[in-house]
Point group: C2
Chain length 245, copies 2
């Protein structure tokens, strides 16, 4: 099986309709901070996560007894257990539990992708594990960047490029997609000093203004986790805990 | 007036809603081939152009007596006067006349932008003239890439980067937009040998398959024209022929 599986990158959930592919594994990326936080939670042993698109739904789940991570503009919401930073998902808080995570951009991307073959969650912290999973599964790959409120964002693009570079090392995959080319070239510019490059990102500056930029290095450091979260029947679970299709 | 006017780049008409700005001049870009052909026509002295979104509308205008440029998959349509290549718009054919130009991606972008302060048409062949116009006008700038059927495309992104680079040399403008950053960085990779870089573009390969790639060098060579087409009341006219607002 040589060069038979395609890789595509989608720069915004609004463009996903042009890349929809029922045979593809969709890799959802929202580096700052939703998919990094989700991967951190699974590394800490969370049993399940429920991505929720709005605060009403988050409150509803809190009332049902779930642990809820939710914030707006850097402030933890009064009904929530803690905020959205990856650092909040410690084993003592989440191990073995089900946690609802409030994320507008991330939830939208995950739900859009749910008609595909499968949906996995990627961040820099689990990127090699995701790549290994994709190589093993041998499906087309669509990397879906959550972006910032529908707009293109740099940090998701860099991760897309980093994963595409590793996938294309493998002879299964090919690309005929301009977004892949752009992601690869931007990643090549950034990879030798990603913390320097990412200073250019508007979301990096936004988090700095909000005092939420303590997560920058953690969210851009590859491979602190080997867990691949997958979306199944409305919830996220770890791949190794699933029964394989 | 220092750093007061923003520059943004939009990678697809589907994302334009997130960048809409009634004070902005929207610069529509569709390098292969609609905006290059429009600029070529104005360089040849066309009086007016009517961008049309579909073949029915093109046929309707032909029946009303207009000159019509229209093709599908590289074949000139039977009712049309000639095809969509910039090379067709010679002075002997178009000077002083009104021409309808059939372009799906380009027309959509132009019509979307029509609620903004003004809409101008850019290609590599008139890029410095467009930049000069934008510097003189002192408005926010939104560069709208037509893309390929809604998808991100490299050639439009490179032109966006080339124009953003020139605009940011001028102290009027600033950028806080990740699409601008990406466009600038990709343009820096490409600018020393754009014909080499553009080999990567999927649209370049598509045109090669269709035997339509004779336009590649022309469409990527800066500044063979100093005319800035603008969209006014449903038609394109040359800026210097307009009464200023």
């Amino acid at each position: 099986m040589k060069h038979q599986k395609s890789i595509e990158v989608v720069f915004s959930p609004d463009l996903y309709k042009y890349y929809q592919n029922p045979e593809a594994i969709v890799v959802v990326v929202d580096v700052l901070r939703a998919t990094s936080a989700i991967c951190a939670a699974f590394e800490s042993g969370v049993a399940k996560m429920i991505p929720v698109p709005d605060l009403e739904k988050a409150k509803e789940l809190k009332d049902k007894g779930y642990i809820v991570a939710a914030e707006r503009d850097g402030n933890v919401l009064d009904f929530a257990d803690f905020g959205n930073s990856p650092f909040n998902f410690t084993p003592s808080r989440v191990k073995g539990k089900t946690v609802a995570y409030s994320t507008t951009n991330g939830t939208r991307a995950i739900q859009l992708a749910s008609e595909s073959y499968s949906v996995v969650i990627a961040s820099f912290i689990n990127m090699s594990a995701v790549v290994e999973h994709l190589v093993n599964e041998k499906h087309d790959v669509v990397i879906l960047c959550a972006g910032w409120k529908g707009k293109f964002c740099l940090e998701d693009t860099l991760l897309a490029g980093a994963m595409a570079e590793k996938l294309l090392d493998n002879q299964i995959f090919y690309s005929a997609c301009d977004s892949v080319t752009a992601s690869l070239d931007l990643w090549k510019l950034a990879k030798n000093d990603i913390m320097y490059y990412i200073e250019k990102a508007t979301q990096r500056q936004r988090l700095k203004r909000l005092g939420l930029d303590d997560v920058m290095e953690y969210c851009h450091t590859p491979d602190s986790s080997a867990v691949v979260p997958v979306f199944e029947k409305g919830v996220l679970v770890a791949w190794h805990n699933m029964i394989k299709k």
